[in-house]
């Protein structure tokens, strides 16, 4: 591949990679820190995307829509975790049933979206979608730059929250030692519930980014299972800087494959990378 093409692929991959990090950061929290087998995370992403689409029909900018929907998703996340904990986490066979539950939830979300919006692709409109920035011979789609910026903001804010606030540190602590946390006066269940709420809340804004970056249709969630879990696992479960690094790696890999082999092979990259990580270093880059 000519160098020019490679450089373009890498740069596109960097932009894409940060976006992947943003959509995976919620999973890094839910699965990485809380050990919840949250297969439905990508479905919530798609739900967020459709939320942005719906508000977009009233003329609301997608990013604004994402911000507005964040508290709604946060509350939803609280509810989902509460239910999950009450029904599954307390019993010994949590694994099989918990997984089946989230699979069923993802499935129901997909079908509900089909019923509500149909199977056609939906897009959203904004001033920054459709235009490109020219730097030398490079053309960078502005919407990718916007996604890149927002993604960095989202990941960075979450990383700071986890390391500098009491609740954030409690969340990291609950991942490591629930008993110690309880002895320090924090209720592990409420901390986990709060964390899951945050993880779901990110799906609102990340979902908005999703529909900015590409058109969405209800089945998109299944494709993103590969991407989000690839990033979350490669990151080293629960690590925020790891999520960013892993996102970049996936983005660049996918971009290069897209340029050299074409679009029909691109979906397999995330899953292939995931299998590779599981085979070689399941703890991920920054794993504990």
């Amino acid at each position: 591949m000519p160098l020019q093409l490679l450089i373009e692929a890498v740069i596109a991959g960097v932009l894409l990679g940060c976006f992947y990090a943003a959509v995976s950061v919620g999973l890094s929290v839910a699965f990485g820190l809380l050990d919840v087998p949250h297969i439905a995370h990508p479905a919530f992403l798609v739900l967020g995307a459709y939320g942005a689409y719906l508000l977009g029909t009233y003329g609301i900018d997608p990013l604004l829509a994402g911000a507005l929907l964040t508290p709604v998703f946060f509350l939803g996340g609280l509810g989902v975790y509460r239910f999950y904990h009450a029904v599954f986490e307390r019993r010994s066979d949590a694994g099989l049933r918990g997984l089946a539950f989230f699979f069923g939830v993802a499935f129901i979300v997909e079908v509900a979206l089909i019923v509500a919006f149909g199977v056609d692709q939906r897009m959203v409109e904004a001033a920054y979608i459709g235009k490109s920035l020219a730097i030398g011979e490079l053309r960078l789609p502005i919407r990718m730059l916007v996604a890149f910026g927002v993604a960095l903001l989202l990941t960075g804010t979450l990383a700071l929250y986890l390391s500098h606030t009491f609740t954030g540190r409690a969340i990291k602590a609950v991942a490591q030692d629930q008993t110690a946390l309880a002895l320090m006066g924090a209720d592990p269940v409420r901390v986990k519930q709060w964390a899951f709420g945050i993880a779901t809340g990110t799906c609102a804004l990340a979902g908005a980014l999703l529909i900015i970056v590409q058109p969405v249709e209800p089945g998109l969630g299944r494709l993103y299972i590969g991407r989000t879990f690839c990033v979350a696992v490669l990151a080293g479960l629960g690590s925020m800087p790891g999520t960013l690094a892993a996102g970049l790696i996936l983005g660049i890999a996918e971009s290069i494959v897209l340029t050299s082999l074409g679009a029909s092979w691109a979906p397999a990259v995330a899953f292939g990378l995931l299998l590779l990580v599981l085979a070689i270093r399941p703890a991920g880059l920054f794993g504990r």
Partner: protein, 316 residues
């Protein structure tokens, strides 16, 4: 021993009935619908060997099903291979797939196996879509061989064959369940650490279950192309197979071989009725809703509900 005798008699009666039916019933749709239901019996039973007995959830059943179909198609197109050869090859490949996914992930937590099965499903579909020999994304048509003697059509012969596969897979599941293998699987499902410390070779047993499950799913899929006279990726890899393979054992009851049979018969029939009377999207939605409802409210499935009912009756 006596239990197996009863089982054998029942199975023989079922197969005899299947043959009789091919000679007497005129309505082709009956065979179509029954074939699909029998196919789900095999698929659900296969899923349960790994999911119910060992506790490892396979989300990629569609891949095993479809690869079974596509391997059979490839052999048929390339060598005009007889049905038996197609079946054996399909089972070998899908059994190997199950083994490979297990070998990769079973030293890790169970959720990683499940995610790997999603990965396998997407990767297989991508590979098949790019495989020109079997028609790629547009699929390919298959010409059914001429009907063997005794049966009016090749389709009817496949119907009896699928009934045979259903009996076979249930027999295998029953054997595994009631043998020392089944007890070992149940032990490692309940507490892998304890099982390992009590002499159970957990990794070997898990790999065995994964291989057996994969092979039987391939068996369910192998005759698919010949039955439909056509195959293309979207329907072969349909999400419905993945959800049904999961929902049928859970609804029926994962603890025993009877559960998947009940679930397949029930949900399979419901699906056929709904698809014909309303729509196929609604059909898939119903399966998903039932799955969630049972997982939450009746985790032991219909079998569990029946057992509780009889136990409370007995107490009175």
């Amino acid at each position: 021993m006596r239990d197996w005798l009863i089982f054998g008699i029942g199975a023989a009666a079922l197969l005899a009935g299947a043959v009789v039916v091919t000679q007497t019933i005129e309505n082709e749709y009956f065979f179509f619908a029954s074939y699909v239901v029998l196919q789900f019996v095999v698929l659900a039973t296969a899923w349960n060997i790994l999911g119910g007995y060992a506790g490892y959830v396979n989300f990629g059943s569609a891949a095993f099903f479809a690869i079974g179909a596509y391997i059979a198609v490839a052999l048929f197109k390339a060598f005009q291979a007889p049905l038996l050869a197609q079946l054996l090859a399909a089972m070998a490949v899908t059994g190997l797939m199950g083994f490979a996914v297990g070998a990769l992930t079973m030293r890790l937590r169970g959720v990683f196996f499940s995610i790997a099965t999603v990965a396998i499903a997407v990767i297989c579909e991508t590979l098949v879509v790019n495989w020109g020999f079997v028609g790629g994304a547009r699929g390919t048509a298959i010409l059914q061989p001429s009907a063997p003697p005794l049966f009016g059509s090749y389709t009817r012969m496949l119907f009896v064959a699928m009934a045979l596969f259903a009996v076979l897979s249930v027999a295998i599941a029953r054997y595994i369940e009631t043998s020392w293998i089944g007890r070992g699987l149940r032990a490692l499902r309940d507490s892998e650490e304890a099982a390992e410390s009590l002499g159970v070779p957990t990794l070997k047993l898990k790999l065995f279950a994964a291989t057996a499950s994969g092979a039987l799913m391939g068996l369910a899929g192998a005759p698919f192309a010949l039955y439909m006279s056509f195959i293309e990726p979207t329907s072969a890899f349909s999400l419905n197979y993945a959800v049904s393979a999961l929902a049928m054992p859970i609804v029926g009851g994962t603890g025993s071989w009877i559960g998947p049979v009940i679930g397949a018969l029930l949900l399979g029939s419901v699906q056929q009725i709904v698809t014909v009377t309303v729509s196929s999207e609604l059909n898939v939605l119903i399966v998903g809703l039932l799955l969630v409802a049972f997982v939450v409210a009746a985790p032991q499935g219909i079998l569990g509900l029946l057992q509780r009912l009889f136990r409370s009756r007995g107490a009175k």
